[in-house]
């Protein structure tokens, strides 16, 4: 549908390693100079460009949504997408983090899915959805998110 790079943003898709095992982080050293990498060789901290992109993305999304639950969930999913290419955090963990019940989390994620801001890219072995933030959704303007 929308294939362009978001306005004013660097190309995030190039930064995010799409494949977890083959993806190597461009810069394992962060600006603090500490080496941060998890066991699965996924970087734990965003690089400067990724953080800038995530900040701009969250700024744009904040104009669309009023619910802080949806915004918080989207920021977690976007961060994990930038780092690992996908987000495997469960709905229950979102609920614990935000102090919201299961239904509020479901409604927020449903809204994000309807606006094409996140996509379900698969299921893990327990059947829980694996999400991926769609950074292109805002590029097309109103018709993309309507």
């Amino acid at each position: 549908m929308i294939t362009g790079v978001p306005r004013g943003l660097p190309d995030i898709r190039a930064m995010a390693p799409l494949n977890m095992t083959a993806g190597k982080a461009a810069k394992p050293f962060t600006s603090t100079g500490t080496f941060t990498m998890s066991i699965e060789e996924i970087p734990l901290e965003l690089t400067e460009e990724q953080a800038e992109a995530l900040w701009n993305f969250s700024n744009e999304v904040e104009r669309l949504f009023r619910s802080s639950t949806a915004l918080g969930i989207l920021m977690v999913i976007a961060r994990h997408t930038l780092l690992a290419g996908e987000c495997r955090v469960s709905h229950k963990a979102f609920g614990l983090r935000h102090g919201k019940c299961r239904r509020s989390i479901d409604v927020a994620i449903k809204m994000l899915k309807r606006h094409r801001l996140i996509d379900v890219v698969g299921r893990d072995d327990r059947g829980a959805a694996i999400y991926r933030a769609n950074f292109d959704a805002l590029a097309g303007g109103a018709d993309a998110v309507a």
């Binding site: 734990l44 953080a51 969250s58 802080s68 977690v76 614990l96 983090r97």
Partner: protein, 352 residues
């Protein structure tokens, strides 16, 4: 790269923490977020008028005006300079404020005003003294309140569930009822009264008369000579100073003793005073003489003479003697003449 620049990671951590803060409503979160979005990294403030915040948050200026006090009370933003007819309000943002539920739980229910000063061990409910030894619980202490990949967001130690389920598997939605503590209650031995009338009587005007009403509409007439202990006590509490009309309508705490002189306390703390600490020196008795500049419309300078306990409070609020100079704090006088300090803006750290 300038040393005081706010990094984007700090901004993201602030916003992620803001979005899960349980003490703020969504409207307040949006207003704070608008201020944070328009932060100027070179000028180190955000210039946002109330109308501008209203437009960004999708509400009206009236609502922003109504909620502006609660925004500064949350500790995340503070007003650096009030708006004038030609300039907008300048807002300072405390980027290192952390108020997520996990932070609050680990900090005894209170938010962290500067997460750079809090060590990761201290965030996990260990005092700094016994955190020196080896801790088998954490091989690599996670940084405070910064969500990481693989975080399951579970607060450690307790079984806290959303929805307020009782720990013994009780019914959902029934929060555990705790003993309520009324923070506005009068101290023991005192009762609250409202002054409905006050005047000086007698041919020389040397008798002070005040008509008091309690919360249960009981009446009390205070009649005392201006040289008595009663008058000295109420004058110290209310600053009457020969103008009894100013005291009418005020709340006051009066001691409940039936014999002897009555003692008086203020019923509520005085309003916050916003000040920047310029310099300070310690006295022999443990107190401190501190020179401050007030951050109000007049922006004058003043001197504070702190008692030993107040000076210790100030040091605890700022986090150390070196961090005190240059810090922007606010303080207020509590009813029992103690002072309460709160750190608003940490001093500019030296270049590392």
């Amino acid at each position: 790269m300038r040393w005081h620049r706010v990094r984007v990671e700090d901004k993201i951590a602030f916003r992620e923490d803001l979005q899960v803060d349980p003490t703020l409503t969504d409207l307040q979160k949006r207003m704070i977020s608008v201020i944070a979005t328009h932060w100027d990294n070179t000028k180190m403030h955000a210039e946002c008028s109330l109308t501008f915040i209203a437009r960004g948050a999708g509400t009206t200026k009236k609502m922003v005006h109504k909620y502006a006090a609660s925004l500064t009370a949350s500790g995340r933003v503070s007003v650096k300079r009030e708006a004038t007819y030609t300039t907008s309000t300048l807002w300072a943002v405390n980027w290192w404020f952390r108020g997520s539920p996990m932070t609050r739980e680990n900090n005894g229910g209170k938010p962290v005003f500067d997460c750079r000063k809090v060590s990761p061990r201290a965030a996990q409910m260990e005092s700094p003294t016994d955190a020196q030894g080896e801790s088998p619980k954490t091989s690599s202490p996670p940084e405070l309140a910064v969500p990481r990949l693989g975080d399951e967001f579970l607060p450690k130690g307790r079984d806290r569930r959303p929805g307020g389920a009782a720990p013994d598997g009780g019914p959902q939605g029934a929060p555990k009822r705790e003993k309520k503590e009324n923070p506005h209650r009068a101290p023991p031995g005192f009762a609250k009264w409202r002054i409905v009338h006050a005047e000086y009587e007698g041919e020389d005007g040397e008798t002070f008369v005040a008509h008091l009403r309690s919360g249960k509409a009981r009446k009390f007439v205070l009649r005392c000579h201006v040289d008595s202990d009663d008058y000295e006590s109420i004058d110290r509490a209310l600053f009457i100073d020969g103008e009894p009309d100013a005291a009418i309508g005020e709340l006051i705490c009066m001691s409940t003793n039936r014999t002897g002189a009555k003692a008086f306390l203020r019923a509520a703390p005085l309003p916050w005073v916003d000040a920047t600490i310029l310099s300070g020196e310690e006295r022999e008795d443990g107190g401190a003489n501190i020179r401050v500049s007030f951050n109000d419309h007049f922006s004058g300078e003043g001197k504070l003479t702190l008692a030993a306990a107040d000076a210790a409070d100030l040091l605890a609020a700022c986090g150390g003697e070196a961090e005190t100079i240059g810090a922007r704090v606010r303080y207020r006088l509590l009813p029992d003449d103690r002072m309460e300090f709160q750190l608003m803006e940490a001093p500019a750290l030296e270049a590392a």
